[in-house]
């Protein structure tokens, strides 16, 4: 009896180690892919890992990465925002349009706020009419792209205040400011998710919304906050891109949402919510960024990048699914072992189970 119990305890210990290593295995795999791929491209094109090229790659990564941090939060919270490509473009276009006549700082702030506002609107609709965020944000993906096209008259925005480019082109300690912002935001998000009350509430809400609300968590505030945060991050990415380029195009970031969501899922965030770490997301953003620019650097058709991003999304979902099935199998096996440990199997085999026999008989007599 006690032996069986010890076994069960030992089993739990084992599981814990295995559960921990699942996230670690993913990160190590991603890191190996990053290094392997970089080396491969470098052998074809020895300019790939030059400081100048890494800076360009870093910039591209930071735009996707900042949006991906927000999208990962949204998904861990059990929601999804498909409209981030349009939010990116809207914020970029608004900040560029305003920067033609307004002070650059104001244009930047208003552009970023527009992203947060659209996110908040998405959240409000999702919460109020309680329908799938996929449908709501698919609608706003088209709606706000339309608004971008109308605002710009379907042509690029130019003639911004020269100081507007200060944000996107600034270099701090040799590192482009957008890259630095990405690093800071990713670190802050990691901390928020793992160590704070807000992070715990997001994870709880994404895991089991009903249970979280019964525990007294405010589902409305969490939903609105998540969408606003996701929108704010996409908006910031868009404004950084506009600032970098010194203007904005209405065709900015078409298909951006899929690139971001691919990175988030590849990074190990469960599409069903409740689970995920920022390290995985950051690593997969870096990997996808390297792949996209590496394909061009190797002189291949850049459209192959689409094949890779699309293929990676399916592969990532498949890997997560396989992980879940393995988990279900483990739970079934655990149930069987517990059953055996409690003497269920022994009883059915006609063996005496001494510990609880008297009690069990007493109970039977009573009924």
């Amino acid at each position: 009896m006690s032996e069986a119990k010890t076994q069960v305890h030992a089993l739990h210990g084992q599981k814990r180690r295995r559960a921990l290593s699942e996230a670690a295995i993913r990160n190590i795999t991603l890191l190996a892919l990053i290094i392997g791929f970089s080396v491969m491209v470098q052998t074809v094109n020895d300019n790939f890992l030059s400081v100048a090229n890494l800076r360009v790659i870093g910039l591209n990564i930071s735009f996707v990465g900042i949006a991906a941090v927000g999208a990962a939060m949204v998904m861990i919270g059990g929601q999804i925002d498909l409209s981030i490509g349009s939010i990116f473009a809207l914020s970029a276009v608004i900040s560029a349009l305003l920067a033609v006549s307004l002070p650059p700082l104001l244009a930047i702030l208003l552009g970023v706020s527009a992203g947060g506002l659209v996110g908040l609107l998405n959240g409000l609709i999702v919460w109020r009419i309680n329908i799938s965020p996929i449908i709501v944000t698919l609608g706003s993906l088209t709606f706000f792209r339309g608004m971008v096209l109308i605002l710009t008259g379907d042509s690029s925005v130019t003639g911004v205040d020269p100081n507007f480019t200060g944000l996107g082109r600034a270099v701090v300690f040799g590192i482009p400011l957008p890259v630095l912002l990405f690093v800071i935001i990713a670190a802050a998000a990691t901390l928020l998710l793992a160590k704070t009350q807000i992070g715990l509430h997001i994870r709880a809400f994404g895991d089991d919304r009903h249970a979280a609300e019964l525990a007294g968590l405010n589902g409305r505030r969490i939903t609105l906050g998540l969408f606003a945060l996701g929108g704010l991050m996409a908006g910031l990415a868009g404004v950084l891109a506009a600032s970098r380029l010194g203007g904005a195009s209405p065709n900015f970031a078409i298909g951006f949402e899929l690139e971001v969501i691919t990175a988030v899922v590849l990074g190990g965030v469960a599409i069903t919510g409740g689970e995920g770490r920022m390290t995985g997301v950051v690593l997969s953003v870096i990997l996808l960024g390297l792949v996209t620019s590496g394909i061009t650097a190797m002189g291949l058709d850049p459209n192959i990048g689409r094949l890779v991003v699309g293929g990676a999304l399916v592969a990532a979902v498949a890997i997560n699914q396989i992980g879940q099935e393995r988990h279900a199998r483990r739970q079934r096996r655990q149930a069987m072992e517990e059953f055996a440990a409690e003497g269920g199997a022994a009883e059915r085999l006609g063996l005496a189970v001494k510990a609880r026999q008297d009690d069990a008989e007493g109970t039977r007599d009573g009924s």
């Binding site: 739990h12 559960a19 160590k195 009350q197 979280a212």
Partner: protein
């Protein structure tokens, strides 16, 4: 222990004249109930007797059409789940309502996390204290979990039940409602749960337990309240009613 600190005259929770219709059907008819601290009250009744409806009213998830809810010395006209929780009333739900991917410690403190550091709207959780609170709450109901840091989805049914009870004990300072706590458990786990319920009452909380199994009821109850067709048909100390009489009242064959 803390029972003595409470004046015997003031119940932990009291409701009177509670009536609730579902369409033309009267699910609860002028139901009155009062529970003292340190007391285990079992609520019994056949299917459709109104047990669940009454529990929903008491836990604040369903508003009665008529009746009064009195907690302490105050009567609550607008009473909802939030108010119930504010007044220290917690429910252990039949399906436990735990977050599967969170650890036992995280589940137990969820919604009442101990703070370590506050920067604006961001509060850092004191994880060491959270683990202590979890261990203490589990100990208060005589439960041990081999590892309070693994996701609760990896634990057995009995362990998850213990976590749900510890969670309620940590959050409650007046009453814990148990909604069919033993419905899905085996003999051994049922015993452990009954012991845990007694421990909850021993800490000075009121315990309201909805139960089907009369054997368990007679083992754990200080007082038994029976419902039949929305009416209270018994509200007696356990020692003053026999199992046969209780069954007769519940089924109406007196």
């Amino acid at each position: 222990m803390s029972i003595a600190l409470q004046p015997a005259t003031e119940p932990a929770f009291c409701c009177s004249g509670v009536t609730r219709f579902f369409g033309a059907v009267r699910a609860l008819h002028d139901v009155s109930l009062s529970i003292n601290r340190g007391e285990v009250v079992c609520l019994v009744g056949d299917n459709g007797a109104g047990k669940s409806t009454l529990v929903k009213v008491i836990s604040g998830t369903l508003a009665p059409d008529d009746g009064e809810i009195v907690i302490g010395d105050r009567s609550y006209a607008r009473y909802d789940m939030r108010e119930a929780q504010r007044q220290g009333i917690q429910t252990v739900h039949q399906h436990l309502a735990l977050c599967d991917k969170l650890s036992a410690a995280e589940n137990i403190v969820l919604g009442r996390e101990p703070a370590q550091l506050k920067i604006g709207p961001v509060t850092f959780v004191d994880r060491a204290r959270a683990r202590n609170i979890a261990t203490e709450s589990l100990a208060a109901v005589s439960a041990t979990i081999p590892d309070i840091d693994v996701p609760v989805e990896k634990l057995s049914g009995g362990q998850r039940q213990a976590i749900a009870i510890a969670r309620a004990v940590n959050a409650a300072d007046r009453m814990v409602i148990f909604d069919e706590p033993t419905a899905a458990l085996g003999i051994k786990q049922t015993q452990a749960t009954l012991e845990a319920i007694r421990k909850v009452a021993d800490t000075g909380l009121a315990a309201l337990v909805i139960m089907h199994n009369l054997e368990d009821v007679f083992e754990i109850a200080d007082r038994i309240v029976a419902l039949r067709l929305g009416f209270v048909v018994a509200d007696v100390p356990r020692s003053q009613i026999s199992r046969a009489e209780l069954a007769a009242r519940m089924s109406g064959h007196e």
